[in-house]
Symmetry: C3
Subunit: 350 residues, 3 copies
C-alpha cells in the first residue's frame, strides 16, 4: 500500500499529563509505541514489541518496576533506553537485545515523538503553541478517536466554510461560508495561512455565551497550519468596528486560540487532539465547561462526518473525481506541502 | 474483482410508496444513489456523492429544501436534475458541477432505476407485473436484506424443489420435489419458463388456510423469470380435476402471483423484494396478514440459508465443484442468460 | 497465501464423547467436516458441502435419519460412506455424487482425523496418550478456541519459562524461568524432548493444593512433542531429594500428565484441547474441580496473550525480527520439524 503519512517528522503523541509513571501505549504513524515517565520526570518512548517473540509490552501482565519494563510473556527486561538487562534461563544478555528508542520532546504541554531516522530529529524544529502552557491563558481540551485518514481532517480544518453547514447552531453562521478567504503559503517555512475576516457578522452561541458580547461582531479567523501535525486557528472576536491598536495591543477583543494536533494513528485512523485557549474569563469554570462541551460536540460532528467520508474514500471505485473551488485554496496548498514531505521522507525505513 | 452484476439494465430500486418528499438512499448494483419524490410527484435519482469532496448527500445534516439538496458538509446545492445551483464563498458555479442523474420509471407500483449508459435506457423495455397495481388483486409485500450475491437467490427461486426441504410446513410438500419440471427458454425475449404441474397434491398450510380448500389439490407452479431482476411465479390452486375453461376463464381456481424483484445491492448483497398478489378474499385482512407473515417466514428461511451459502462460496478454496441434475435446468438457463447480459454490458463504465 | 499447516497428518478432531448420533461440525486444517457416530458406534466423517450446490450439511434443516444425511436445501441424501443415495425429481442418482470421506481413528479417548491423501493414512502412526483412557488415572479436560495460528501455541508450550511471568500465582514460580533446559530431537521419530528438572523449588498452588505437599519440592517437567498435534508434559512432583527407584517405580512422587492436542482450525485459528491426568486422589472430586478450574485459567491466560500476538504477527509490517536464546532451543526444533512436514505434505491437494 502507498502510505499517506510523512516520515522524518515530529508528531504529537500525547498530552503531557497523560503520561505518568506507568506503561502507556499509543500507535503513532503506524508504529506501536510504549511510553512512560521515568523517575527523573522525563518521558521515554520505545518500541512496543519485545525483541524475543514480539509480545506487546503494553499488554498485561507486563510490568514497570523501577524504570525497568519486564515482559509479561517470558520476562525479558528493558531499561528506559530500550536496552535489555535480563533474559530468562541464562545470565548472558545478547548484545543486540534492544528496543527501538524514539526521540521525544515535551513542549507547550504536548509530548512530541519523532517518526523516522533519529539522527535527523535534532535539526528539525517543532512548531510552537505557547498559549497552551501560559498562565495568561486558560485551556480546555480533549482527544477524539477518528476512524479516518488524517488528510481528511486536514481538508476539514483548512476549509472552515463547513462550519456554516456541519456546525450550524454552535460556531457556524451564514457569514463563514459567505466570506471569501485569502490564502498564503510560506514554502520555505512550510506553513499555510488562510484568513477570513468577517467585519460585521452574527455572533454564534460559542462566542456569545463565552464572551458575553451582544449583537453583531467582528470575527477574524486566521489559520496557520504547519504540516503535518500542528494546526492553529487564531480567532479574534470583537465589537463591530474594533481593530487592534497600532502598538499591537487589542484590549477590546476576545482572543481564542484553537489548536489541533492532527496525528495519524494508522493509514486509516487519526488521533484528533483539540485544545481551546482563551485570554478572558480565565477563572470562570462555567465558561470552561461550556467551551469544552461545545467544542467536543463540534469535534464529534466532524468525526461522524469524516468517518463516513473515510468509508466512501476507501470503498468507492477507483478514479472518483473531486471538484475544487476558491474555498479549497488552503486545503490544496496543505496537500501540496504534505506531498512534498511524503516525497522527502520516502527514503525512510518502513 | 470480476463483477457478476449486469449493467445496461433496469433494476427495481424501491416500492413506490417508499419514496416520499425526503431524501432516501439505497445502493443499487454497487452505485450509491439518492432518491426523492419532487413537488411534481415524480421520483428523481442522483448520485449520492457531492461533487466537491464526495460527501454522501444522504448523510445528515444534508437537507432537502424546495426540491434542492443542500450538502451538509460545505453547502453545495443541487436541483432535482443534479445540476449544482450554489457553492460557498463565490457566486460563480462551475459548469461541470453536476451530479450523475439516473433514468427512473415508476410502473406496477415499483420504482425502476437504470444502471448503465442513460442513452440506452429508453430502448430497453421493463418487464411487467400488472397485478401489483390492479384493484382486482390484493397484494402483501416486504423487503429483506440478503447478505448474499443475487445469483444465489436466482438459483434458489428457479429451483422450487427446495420448498419440500427448506420450507416444509408452510409451502413445501413431498410433491414439489417429486414432480418433474419442464423448462423453456425464450432466447430472443430473454425469458426463462419453468413449469411444474402437480395434479393431485397435498395442500400446504399456505394455501389451505388462505383459500379454504380442503383435501388434495391441483397445484401449478409456472415460473417466468426475466433476468436480471424480475421473477414471477404464477401459482394456480384448484380442486383436483379442475382445469381452466376453453375461453381462458378459470372460475374454480385460486390464483396467486408471487413476484420477486432480485436487485443486487453490491457484489455480495441483495435487496430481496417479495410480493404476493391474490385474486380471492380481496378484502379479508386476516388472509392478508396470514399470507404476509407466512411469506416473510419463507423468505427469512431462504435468507438464512443463502447468507450461509454466500460465506461458503466466498471463502471456500477455489475450484469447488457443483453437480447439476434435472431440477437445475431452469437455474442453469438463467445463469446462461445472465452471463450473456454480463458480456453485453461489459462495455459499460465501472 | 502460503499455508503453515502440514497435510498428510493425523489431527485430533474432537473428544470421543463430543460425537454422538447427531450431526456435528468442526473445521480442521481449513476443511469443513461433518461428523456423527453411526448406529454401529463408530465415528464417521465426510465433507460438510452438499455436492449439488455446496450447502453446508451441518446447517439446519439438514437432518440425520437412520445414518442418512438429508440436505436441508434440496434433499440430496447421503450414507455414512458419503455416497449419495437419493436426489429430488428423478430416480437416477449420478454416479459421481459422493461426499469426500475422511479416515478416522478413535484412540485414547480422542477422535483423530486424517487430513491429506487417504491412501497414506494407514501407514502413519498416531502418537499415544494412554493415561487419558486408563482407570489408574483421573482426567479433567477442556477445549478453548484460540484466535491465533497453531504455531504460536507450539512456541508457547515448548518454552515453559513463560509460566513464571504469564502464569505466576498458579503454576509459575521463579525456578521455572531460572532453571536451564536440555533439549533432544529424535529426527527419525519426529519428536522433540525438552527437560527441566528443578530439584529444590517452590511448590506452586496448582500442585500444593492438589497433592497436599508442604514446603519445597522436586519438580520435573519433561516435554515430549510429536508435531504437529500431540504435546505431552510429563510432570513429576515429589518431596525434595526423592527420586524414582531403580526398578522404575516412583511411590513418593505425584505424577501429572498434561496433554495438549494442538489442532489448526484455519491458518489463523486453533482448537486448543487440554487435558490433565493424575495418578493420585483419583476419586477426589474437589481436586478434579480445582485442577480443571486452574488449568482452564492458565489456558485462558495463554489464549489472551496469543490472540494479541496473532494480531501483531498478522498486521505488523513484513520483516519483523525475533531474537532467540537458550530457552528457545525446543521451540526452534519444533519449528524445524513442522517445516519438514510442511515440505513433505506440499504435494497434497488444497
Amino acid at each position: 500500500m502507498t502510505t499517506t503519512i510523512p516520515r522524518e517528522q515530529w508528531y504529537v503523541a500525547a498530552y503531557g499529563v497523560e503520561i505518568r509513571d506507568e506503561l502507556f501505549h499509543r500507535t503513532i504513524a503506524g508504529e506501536s509505541i510504549l511510553f512512560w515517565r521515568t523517575a527523573e520526570g522525563t518521558v521515554t518512548a520505545v518500541s512496543d514489541r519485545c525483541v524475543h517473540r514480539r509480545f506487546p509490552l503494553s499488554q498485561a501482565p507486563t510490568r514497570l518496576v523501577d524504570d525497568q519494563v519486564i515482559c509479561g510473556y517470558h520476562g525479558f527486561t528493558y531499561g528506559s533506553d530500550g536496552r535489555c538487562t535480563a533474559v530468562p534461563g541464562q545470565t548472558r544478555v545478547p548484545r543486540t537485545a534492544r528496543l527501538t528508542s524514539y526521540p521525544i520532546r515535551e513542549q507547550d504541554s504536548l509530548v512530541w515523538v519523532w517518526i523516522g531516522d533519529p539522527a535527523r530529529a535534532a535539526d528539525t524544529p517543532i512548531p510552537r503553541a505557547p498559549w497552551l502552557d501560559d498562565p495568561a491563558w486558560t485551556v480546555v481540551r480533549g482527544l477524539e478517536p477518528l476512524a479516518a485518514r488524517f488528510g481528511l481532517l486536514v481538508d476539514n480544518l483548512l476549509d472552515l466554510s463547513h462550519e456554516t453547514y456541519l456546525h450550524g447552531g454552535s460556531i457556524g453562521t451564514p457569514e463563514v461560508a459567505g466570506t471569501p478567504i485569502t490564502t498564503e503559503v510560506d514554502d520555505e517555512a512550510g506553513v499555510v495561512h488562510v484568513s477570513r475576516h468577517m467585519d460585521d457578522a452574527e455572533c454564534p452561541p460559542f462566542y456569545a455565551r463565552s464572551t458575553g458580547l451582544r449583537g453583531r461582531i467582528s470575527r477574524w479567523q486566521d489559520i496557520e497550519y504547519t504540516p503535518p501535525c500542528l494546526y492553529l486557528l487564531h480567532s479574534r472576536i470583537a465589537p463591530v468596528g474594533s481593530v487592534p491598536r497600532p502598538d499591537g495591543t487589542d484590549p477590546d477583543a476576545f482572543h481564542v486560540e484553537v489548536v489541533y494536533a492532527i496525528t495519524p494513528e494508522t493509514e486509516h485512523s487519526t488521533h484528533d487532539f483539540w485544545m481551546v485557549a482563551r485570554d478572558f474569563a480565565l477563572d470562570d469554570a462555567e465558561v470552561s465547561a461550556f467551551l469544552a462541551e461545545q467544542n467536543r460536540a463540534v469535534v464529534r460532528q466532524d468525526v461522524v462526518a469524516l468517518d463516513v467520508l473515510e468509508t466512501v474514500v476507501a470503498t468507492d471505485p477507483e478514479g472518483a473525481q473531486e471538484l475544487s473551488i476558491n474555498i479549497d485554496t488552503g486545503g490544496l496548498a496543505a496537500r501540496r506541502l504534505l506531498a512534498r514531505q511524503l516525497g522527502a521522507g520516502a527514503g525512510g525505513v518502513r
